[in-house]
């Protein structure tokens, strides 16, 4: 007797890998690659029974993380001072466990840059949602930090959409770099 037909969306997407995996990319990121994998993430999420609101938050978190890799990963194929058409290495993963989505990114960073990131990230772990929204409003109205290629709003945007406090870590990596990981929950 055949086992009952499995619901289409329960079929593992990536044979041999964790069945909760929705999307995974590791390698070099450029804006063109983000455009292409962003389309794949959107379509993949449309196949899950996820509200439009959650899908939009997941997509936004994914784009912020992927663009951070393009701008800030220390593993760069393009010259470090090149400001456009950059290509840098990292990974982004989206998994779906018990109705919750986890979006995790990783990329190597210079140890001195790691020290700059910690004071930006740590407060976001302890702030209430109201405080995060307040900080977001203030940063939106503040002059742009000269060192920031984005708007400095990226981490706040991720934290604002995350239903649990963001998690982050720094681990020693090759070439005296630190491997930066960041996790959001939606």
């Amino acid at each position: 007797m055949n086992p009952p037909a499995e619901h289409e969306s329960n079929k593992p997407c990536f044979p041999g890998l964790d069945p909760h995996l929705i999307f995974f990319y590791a390698g070099y990121f450029s804006q063109n690659i983000i455009n292409a994998i962003g389309d794949a993430v959107r379509l993949r999420l449309e196949q899950t029974e996820t509200s439009g609101s959650a899908r939009r938050k997941i997509f936004s978190t994914f784009i912020e993380m992927a663009q951070n890799i393009v701008h800030y990963s220390s593993d760069s194929l393009t010259p470090p001072d090149q400001a456009t058409l950059e290509m840098r290495a990292g990974s982004v993963m989206v998994s779906h466990v018990d109705g919750t989505f986890h979006i995790i990114c990783a990329n190597p960073v210079d140890p001195s840059f790691a020290e700059q990131l910690k004071p930006l990230l740590e407060p976001l772990r302890v702030m209430s949602m109201e405080q995060i929204k307040d900080a977001y409003r203030k940063t939106l109205r503040a002059e742009t930090d000269e060192n920031s290629k984005g708007a400095g709003l990226g981490f706040l945007t991720i934290a604002k959409d995350s239903s649990a406090p963001i998690e982050y870590g720094f681990e020693p990596a090759a070439n005296n770099m630190q491997m930066f990981t960041l996790k959001a929950t939606i």
Binding site: Q31, S53, S60, A83
Partner: protein, 128 residues
């Protein structure tokens, strides 16, 4: 002043700034690699246009499906400039479209309405 038009790409919106007709439109996606570079030109042209008008009505329609954090910052600057034109006696009408499921885009529109009260703000929820 001439019309300023950019066709949409996968990560940048259609920009149809018809200055002679006083009608400005942003439509599509907005997550360019550098929002400062993409919006810099738009801001400069809009600012130059606003310098030439007095007591006129300008209609701006924003129909963005998604915009990233750095685009958010640039949009805020654009509306800051439009608000100034409104304070100087022009009528600026903003039609702010957002997907009915997208509270982030609606909330940002409400932030704009709060910060830039001289702009006449209309929110439009779109069924996806």
């Amino acid at each position: 002043m001439e019309k300023f038009y950019l066709a949409a790409t996968s990560n940048t919106p259609e920009v149809d700034f018809d200055f002679p007709a006083r009608r400005l439109l942003l439509k599509g996606e907005s997550y360019p690699e550098s929002a400062a570079a993409f919006y810099g030109d738009i801001l400069n042209k809009t600012s130059a246009f606003l310098d030439t008008i007095t007591e006129e009505t300008v209609q701006i329609s924003v129909q963005l499906n998604y915009f990233n954090s750095s685009s958010t910052k640039m949009l805020f600057s654009l509306f800051d400039r439009l608000n100034l034109a409104a304070e100087e006696g022009n009528t600026i009408v903003l039609d702010w479209h957002h997907d009915i499921d997208d509270e982030t885009i609606l909330e940002f529109g409400l932030e704009l309405a709060e910060d830039f009260p001289a702009i006449e703000f209309h929110a439009h929820a779109i069924e996806s």
